[in-house]
Symmetry: C2
Subunit: 342 residues, 2 copies
């Protein structure tokens, strides 16, 4: 890939669009070093207004008009009818080679459906998956969990594919050498789990992945492995549970502090640390989640993303494009199928 990576930012998706998106784009641009170029997709008038508010009219963004946007309460499939939505236009730009990647904080289901229909799957992948980076005790050494919501019903072959894609992404984008792949289960022994886990365990063992066996729910935050594979139902429940910890702690700490005079003093001193702790727990800090298995680069971010989270999602899109993740997935899959067919 020559020249800067072209990233189409769905500027109308998310709870605070286009304001947060434009702010995120400005932040990202400041750190770009000319490595990537941003295309702001959406209502041109509104986007220009936002740029003006941020004193960013002079920045070299490309603005691509899209007259519609998809509401969070719309159905993913119905949204396909909106041919001129910011999501659809951004995807089409990638399809046409005018963009190398798409970033959206909009309706995840709509992004997924639009990506599948417009860009299609990587050959050999039956089901794309949403991969999320979660923090661990090792701090900067997080864990990639997939799938976290694209597939509520899975077969062993799907979990194997998730393992392959997660491993390649982890190695290429997260710079982990020989990533340890774990299978989420309810016991470490190979005979523990449900039918899906037992058959997936077998396939993963036979694969050429660095498969470290089953991992239990209490090993994720410990950082016992680099990639955790699970079906999208379990993954989504666990991710959402994890995302709620911050609110739970904040609420409990507030109540505790009210009760104790010394704590009120202590909290003044501790504020900096608590703020940093909250950052570790704040999943939006880690930027977007890649849709792995799509024949293109699509990064989904939280609807409630901050400008910083958008900036991080843009960076994820940049790295995933630059590192040719999909090309590597295709290579591994083709050698995998050749081996299996022999």
């Amino acid at each position: 890939m020559n020249g800067p990576v072209k990233i189409a930012l769905d500027s109308m998706g998310g709870d605070f669009a286009p304001s947060v998106l434009v702010k995120g784009a400005v932040l990202a641009h400041q750190e770009s070093n000319g490595d990537f170029r941003l295309i702001l997709v959406g209502d041109e008038v509104k986007i220009k207004e936002e740029l003006k508010k941020n004193g960013a009219e002079g920045l070299p963004f490309i603005i691509q008009q899209a007259s519609e946007s998809i509401r969070m309460d719309e159905s993913a499939t119905l949204s396909l009818r909106k041919k001129d939505s910011s999501i659809a236009v951004a995807m089409q730009m990638q399809k046409d080679g005018e963009a190398d990647a798409v970033v959206s904080a909009g309706h995840t289901g709509a992004v997924m459906t639009s990506a599948l229909i417009t860009l299609g799957r990587i050959e050999g992948i039956s089901r794309p998956a949403i991969a999320t980076y979660m923090p661990t005790q090792r701090e900067k050494d997080g864990v990639l969990v997939l799938d976290v919501g694209a597939n509520s019903e899975c077969k062993a072959q799907h979990l194997l594919e998730f393992g392959i894609m997660g491993s390649i992404y982890s190695e290429s984008v997260l710079n982990k050498a020989n990533p340890r792949v774990g299978l989420l289960s309810i016991g470490e022994e190979s005979n523990k789990g449900n039918d899906l886990i037992l058959s997936s365990h077998k396939l993963l063992l036979e694969s050429q992945l660095n498969f470290v066996g089953n991992v239990e729910g209490n090993k994720i935050l410990k950082g016992s492995c680099d990639v955790v594979v699970c079906d999208g139902f379990v993954g989504n429940v666990m991710l959402k549970f994890a995302e709620s910890i911050d609110g739970f702690l904040t609420s409990i700490v507030k109540k505790q502090i009210k009760r104790n005079l010394f704590s009120k003093l202590g909290i003044l001193f501790l504020q900096a640390s608590l703020k940093r702790l909250r950052k570790v727990l704040d999943y939006s800090e880690y930027g977007g989640a890649p849709l792995l298995g799509i024949d293109g680069v699509c990064i989904v971010a939280h609807g409630g993303s901050s400008p910083k989270a958008i900036k991080n999602a843009i960076k994820v899109a940049y790295h995933m494009s630059k590192k040719n993740v999909n090309f590597k997935i295709k290579e591994v899959l083709s050698s995998y199928w050749q081996r299996i067919r022999k």
Copy 2:
């Protein structure tokens, strides 16, 4: 039920047996008011030694000799061959009417299997479930989650039964009026989830439970409902994930504090609050988890339980016996089946 409730405590089960068990028994006795009587089941010599160490030789415990114990790494079914294990002896005592309840911090699988074989299931219940009480933002107002590990593969009928048992337990033992029952899923809408969830949703809607619909993973700690129903695979993953939060936070906070001088000062003031926070997160504080659906009262506690956790588990056993939870489950089931057959 007349006279004190007789509770058989498996005194050889758990990571620190019999020491922690005997200490827990002593704590429980101090708060008993003659409401319950404890039978310490296990190696008589060792139990007497522990009682002596705690200056508790004079307390009115019954000691029941059991010559064997089940190791944590043994298989649940193989453990059945040990007819004189502390778990087997305790269960047999309940079967014979010499005890009203069993409490064990030993091998959960062995307790479950032994309970099923010795005491059997409540008529009309296809699958017993492990129910765990989890804290929420509302502090003392926690949520009962079931199943958290007994059944890794479930059908809709099982989840309905979990809802019925959880609702009755929540009302009788946790004193919640008309408990709100939620179905764990990956979207609040009734059409979100996998096949199991879609069919369970229907059954729960048709039931006479106070069914509040699907709940997502981020609603558990918020306390959006009183009972959360899920299959044992998802429930176990989520519970173990939750249990690991304390260690994760402790580790992160320690690292943050090392970096910041003011935080070191602050932590001195905050210590009392942090300790209380940890207590909220420490699931062992909530005592044992009932095996619901067993035709008897069986409470399982963590292998690593503290004496206080054992005391709490004994209290859970007392309340479950006293409140005739199983009798109420039988009543509701019989009227449920009558309604369905009409």
